[in-house]
């Protein structure tokens, strides 16, 4: 598990340009980030539950996935359903 690598990708998704790059050429956004195959595929799938369980920083994870969901209010319930089973995993890097 490489929490810092996942957080670094999520951090790069904050500016709109980073999200556009992620949609067009995700490998460019992953460049220089130490990721396992599981983390890489969870990021590509925007898999909130897996990323949360692996210890992604919740603030970064929610922000990035909410933005990628077009900030649709109904995404909130989908996100909390996905992460709820995992409680509060350690997210220290």
């Amino acid at each position: 598990v490489s929490r810092y690598g996942v957080d670094k990708v999520l951090w790069r998704l904050q500016p709109a340009a980073g999200r556009e790059r992620f949609l067009a050429e995700p490998d460019r956004v992953f460049d220089g980030c130490d990721l396992t195959e599981q983390e890489r595929s969870a990021l590509l799938a925007r898999d909130a539950g897996t990323l949360y369980r692996l210890g992604a920083h919740p603030f970064l994870l929610w922000g990035a996935l909410f933005d990628l969901a077009g900030r649709a209010p109904e995404y909130r319930a989908e996100y909390t359903r996905a992460i709820a089973p995992y409680g509060y995993p350690d997210h220290a890097t």
Partner: protein
């Protein structure tokens, strides 16, 4: 010796400026409390606002994370574009008093606090929300103090309190004609990105018992109680980003552990005020 114009602490809940501007009935009481505080800040006639805020993993990241940093850029404009897009927040463009910032860094060393500094910095919503609501004119220079409350490990409550004491000693050494207002930006129990995530309105707190206990401690001047309450474990139980509460613990250190003259929670929004100790 500079004088302290006033000491205040408020929330930086991102939706508030929009809710207040739209005159949403449920938030009128909060709007009135901010308006009252804005009038009191103006009446205190400060010429500098020292703002104790944080950065939400926007510019400071785990590749290089300062525990406490003084912004000493010529000016700062915030918040970040993605923050504005998420919550519809207004921007704030303000001068930084670089001379005061430098004195604070230099004198900090003599107080055993090694502040990091940044000659480029963006004030995120931690700074812009309180400043937009309390000094919308943006005509007073600030010195921003960025704390790490987001990326564990962050400093414990006792260190925030000690840094608040050090800042007070340092500010007292600013030139005699200066009138400094101190404004802490934080919040009570809060969850973002965890299972208790709510719609982002400050009314919906995850742990009202934490909030009530904390506000009473400020009103009682109970620093020991605050330090016992604001442990990593208890704050996490109250909500996964409750740690921005630590900026209020820093404020208590700045205020010299005196009971706050105002310690009021209105629909989840904390309002803290300490009047200056004497007519200076």
């Amino acid at each position: 010796m500079a004088s302290i114009a006033t000491i205040m602490g408020v929330t930086h809940s991102p939706p508030l400026p929009k809710l207040i501007a739209a005159d949403v009935p449920a938030y009128r009481e909060v709007a009135a409390a901010f308006a009252d505080m804005r009038r009191r800040l103006a009446a205190a006639k400060p010429d500098l606002i020292l703002v104790l805020g944080c950065d939400h993993l926007n510019q400071f990241f785990m590749n290089n994370m300062p525990a406490f940093l003084i912004g000493k850029a010529p000016s700062s404009l915030g918040p970040f574009g993605h923050e504005q897009d998420r919550a519809g927040m207004p921007s704030y463009d303000v001068a930084i008093d670089q001379r005061a910032a430098r004195i604070i860094i230099e004198e900090g060393f003599t107080q055993n606090v090694d502040f990091a500094f940044a000659d480029e910095c963006v004030i995120d919503h931690s700074f812009t929300v309180p400043l937009c609501l309390l000094r919308p004119e943006a005509d007073l220079p600030i010195v921003p103090v960025f704390s790490n409350v987001m990326a564990p490990p962050f400093p414990p409550a006792a260190r925030f309190h000690r840094v608040g004491q050090a800042l007070r000693a340092v500010v007292d050494r600013l030139p005699a004609e200066r009138r400094v207002a101190v404004l802490a930006s934080g919040h009570l129990s809060t969850e973002v990105g965890g299972p208790r995530l709510r719609a982002g309105l400050s009314a919906d707190r995850p742990d009202p018992a934490f909030d009530k206990a904390a506000m009473k401690m400020f009103g009682d001047g109970d620093t020991d109680g605050l330090l016992r309450l604001a442990t990593v474990e208890r704050m996490a139980a109250a909500g996964n980003v409750t740690s921005a509460f630590l900026n209020f613990v820093m404020l208590m250190g700045f205020a010299g552990d005196r009971p706050a003259d105002q310690s009021e929670e209105i629909i989840g929004s904390p309002f803290l005020t300490w009047q200056p100790e004497s007519a200076q």
